[in-house]
Every structure is written in structure tokens, then in C-alpha cells.
Amino acid sequence: MCMKWRIAACLFFVFILGLGVPIKALAHGAKIEYTVNVAIELVAAYDNGEPMAGAQFVVYAPDDPSTPWLTGFCDDEGRFSFVPDTSKPGIWDVQVRQAGHGDIVHIPIGEDAAVTGSAGGYTTLQIVLMALCVVWGTVGTALYFSRRRRA
């Protein structure tokens, strides 16, 4: 019984250790770094196709959807562009308004784009209960391996 418990504990320790140990690549020589900045270009037009020349645009980032991240004005052809911060993956919202007309578009940026307007998070009570369940599961596993064998 103690042996099984010890084996389980060792396996668990090795698993955790494997997650935490960084892999080092030994090399020397030239090192090149590059970044790719993807610009988003939008064109705003009225329903009849006429460009929204000089219309105001507002860009909202996914990490703070209530505060403007960027504001500006479209050019004479209703065009404008911006480079989103790719360290903030998710849905970028862009609003364009002029003379009582307006619209908003939602642009996913980055892999596994997070979704705005999610239906709520966990309360503190839920988090505590989930933590207790994890602890209990761990304890239960330990108790299982520590049980005495029947003769």
C-alpha cells in the first residue's frame, strides 16, 4: 500500500517537474528576430454606396471594450487603417459614425480569439468550491493508494 502511494507521488512529482523545466537549446551565431504587423483597413460607406468621407471612427480593444483604444477620421474615400496590438487577441470592435448614421463591426484578431460579451464569469463561492473539489480529489486519490490490503 505504501509502495503504490509512493509510486503515485513520484509520478506526480515528475509530471510537475517536467512542466517547469525549461528546454535549453545550445547554439551560437547569428540571431534574427522579426515581427509581423498586420494592418486592418476598413472602408465605410452609406447604404447607397457613397463613402463616409470624414466620418469619425473609434476602435475598441478586447481587453477594455468600453474605452476607446484609437479614434480618428476616415479619409475622403471613407477609408482608414490601424495596426492592432497583437498582444491583445480577441474581438476588436470598430465603430464609424457620421451625421446620424453609424455602424459597428467586430474583427477577430489573433489565434483562439476571445469572445466579447461572454455570459458571465465565476463567483468567488464557485471558485472556492471548485478548489475544494480539486483538493478533495487529490486527498481521495492519496487515501485510495494508502488503504490497507485485506489479508
Binding site: Y46, D47, N48, Y60, P65, S66, I91, D93, Q95, R97, A99, G100, H101, G102, D103, I104, H106, V115, T116, G117, S118, A119, G120, G121, T123, L125, Q126, L129, M130, L132, C133, W136, R147
Partner: protein, 265 residues
């Protein structure tokens, strides 16, 4: 034997814990539903054909008012059904006066839900229905006011008995709406653009707003002794066919979300 006796209560405790997780309840706040006729209704405006219009009352009757959290965000241009991840509705029929409160009044609070799940309510739908009772009984929209031009004055009461259903995307305006935090309050707004009916002298005449608007002159031309009290049947009988058709075509465009568009049926 002792351990066997412990297993059952421990298992029950574990199951109860799981149940409590699910039943602990999501974070909630208060979601308010507003109706807004904007300054056009509160302060009046000049129609595309020069009539200075002031409103005494603008009654609209609302039903099935529903705010949704949608993912992906609902696109009103698509005309598709609104698929709600979270849906909050007002259960009653409401007749509100968009002109209530004077020139600088805030939007009209239609109703609120105090235990709405948190999140971003980025879509809203509602119906404009005939009022069952009250000052607008039998009509979905009643517009009462006075129009003046070059010494002429017309007291008017225009009553619409058509019913409309709106499905709208996210509010478009100076600030974003519908973002509800735990324990907080957020609002969603149903906006009504009555300048679409009469046009706006401050907007270029070749703007689609004015091109599609009826104006006030057609209504003034059928007034008798400076008074006009007409429902859609009477307007159909008295207005020129082209003017009546423009009115029929423009009424569904009343509903907006700020400057954002809605799909109307």
C-alpha cells in the same frame, strides 16, 4: 468497517459540493431598458420643407422587449434570427411618451431587470404594438404636436396602427452600452428617429434622410381649420398616393439603436 461507514457521508458531501457549484448562481447586475426620441422629439426641429415642429406627446407602445448577449455579434443587416447566449426580457406591454420631461429630459426608462447575468448585451429586439389601453389605445404610435410655418399653424395628431418588430445589433453612439458588471447597472436603448418621417432642414436636401422623408407639407395640406387628427386609414384616403406610400415605407425605419440600424418586419 469504520472506513466503509465514512465512504457514504464523504461521497454525499462530494456530490453536494458539485451541486453547489452549479447552483451558486452567476454574477448579476441591473439591466435597464430605455426608449429615446432624441432631441428631435424633446426639442422639436424644422422639417425638410420648413415647418417648425414641436411635439406635445409621442406615444409608442412596446412589447417583447428583449436584450441579448450574442456570439458572434448579431448583424441586423443579415435579417437572420437573433441567437441569444443570454436573454433578458421585460414581460409587460409598455406605452411610453418620448416627449415626457421637457427639452433636456433623459431617455425614458421603460423597465429594468435587477438580476440580469453580467456580460455585454450587444443586441436588442422589441415589438411596437397597438396599445391595449391608455392615451394611445388602439395605436402603436401616436404623434401629437404643433407645426408652424410663415404664420400658419397646424395642430396635429397622427396615429399609426401598424405593428412592427425590430431586431437590432449593438448600440452605436458616443459611448458603448449594455456592458453589465457584477453588482452594477447598465442600460440598453431603443432609439426612435422621427426626423425620418418629416425630414430635417439642417440636413442636405439630397441626403437620403430627406429624399425618403414625407415632410410636413403633405400633412398640412389636408389639415382643416388648422387641425389634423388622422389615423392611417384617413391618411390613406386624403394624402396623395405617393406621399402615403412614402409614409408607409418610412415608418419601419423609426427604430434604431443610437445610430445603429435594426432589421424590421
Amino acid at each position: 468497517m469504520r472506513k466503509r461507514m465514512l465512504v457514504l457521508p464523504i461521497a454525499v458531501l462530494f456530490v453536494v459540493s458539485i451541486m453547489l457549484i452549479g447552483c451558486a448562481g452567476a454574477a448579476v447586475g441591473t439591466l435597464q431598458f430605455d426608449a429615446n426620441g432624441e432631441d428631435f422629439v424633446r426639442q422639436g426641429f424644422v422639417s425638410k420643407d420648413g415647418w417648425s415642429i414641436d411635439f406635445d406627446h409621442v406615444y409608442i407602445t412596446l412589447a417583447d422587449v428583449t436584450a441579448c448577449q450574442t456570439d458572434p455579434p448579431y448583424d441586423p443587416h443579415s435579417g437572420a434570427d437573433m441567437n441569444c447566449d443570454v436573454k433578458i426580457s421585460l414581460g409587460n406591454v409598455y406605452t411610453v411618451d418620448l416627449a415626457e420631461g421637457g427639452d433636456n429630459a433623459p431617455p425614458i426608462l421603460v423597465g429594468e431587470v435587477s438580476d440580469a447575468p453580467v456580460g455585454h448585451y450587444n443586441a436588442i429586439s422589441w415589438k411596437m404594438v397597438k396599445a391595449p389601453t391608455g392615451p394611445a389605445a388602439g395605436y402603436s404610435v401616436v404623434v401629437i404636436g404643433t407645426a408652424e410655418k410663415e404664420g400658419q399653424s397646424v395642430d396635429f395628431s397622427i396615429k399609426v396602427d401598424e405593428e412592427y418588430e425590430y431586431a437590432c445589433g449593438e448600440y452605436v453612439g458616443d459611448e458603448r452600452k449594455g456592458m453589465l458588471q457584477e453588482g452594477g447597472t447598465a442600460d440598453v436603448e431603443m432609439t426612435f428617429h422621427f426626423d425620418h418621417i418629416f425630414g430635417d432642414a439642417e440636413t442636405p436636401m439630397d441626403d437620403d434622410l430627406n429624399v425618403s422623408a414625407v415632410g410636413f407639407e403633405p400633412f398640412a395640406s389636408i389639415a382643416e381649420a388648422g387641425k389634423l387628427d388622422a389615423d392611417m386609414a384617413e391618411l390613406h384616403a386624403k394624402l396623395a398616393a405617393g406621399d402615403y406610400q412614402m409614409l408607409v415605407d418610412i415608418l419601419p425605419t423609426l427604430g434604431h439603436v443610437g445610430e445603429g440600424h435594426c432589421h424590421c418586419e
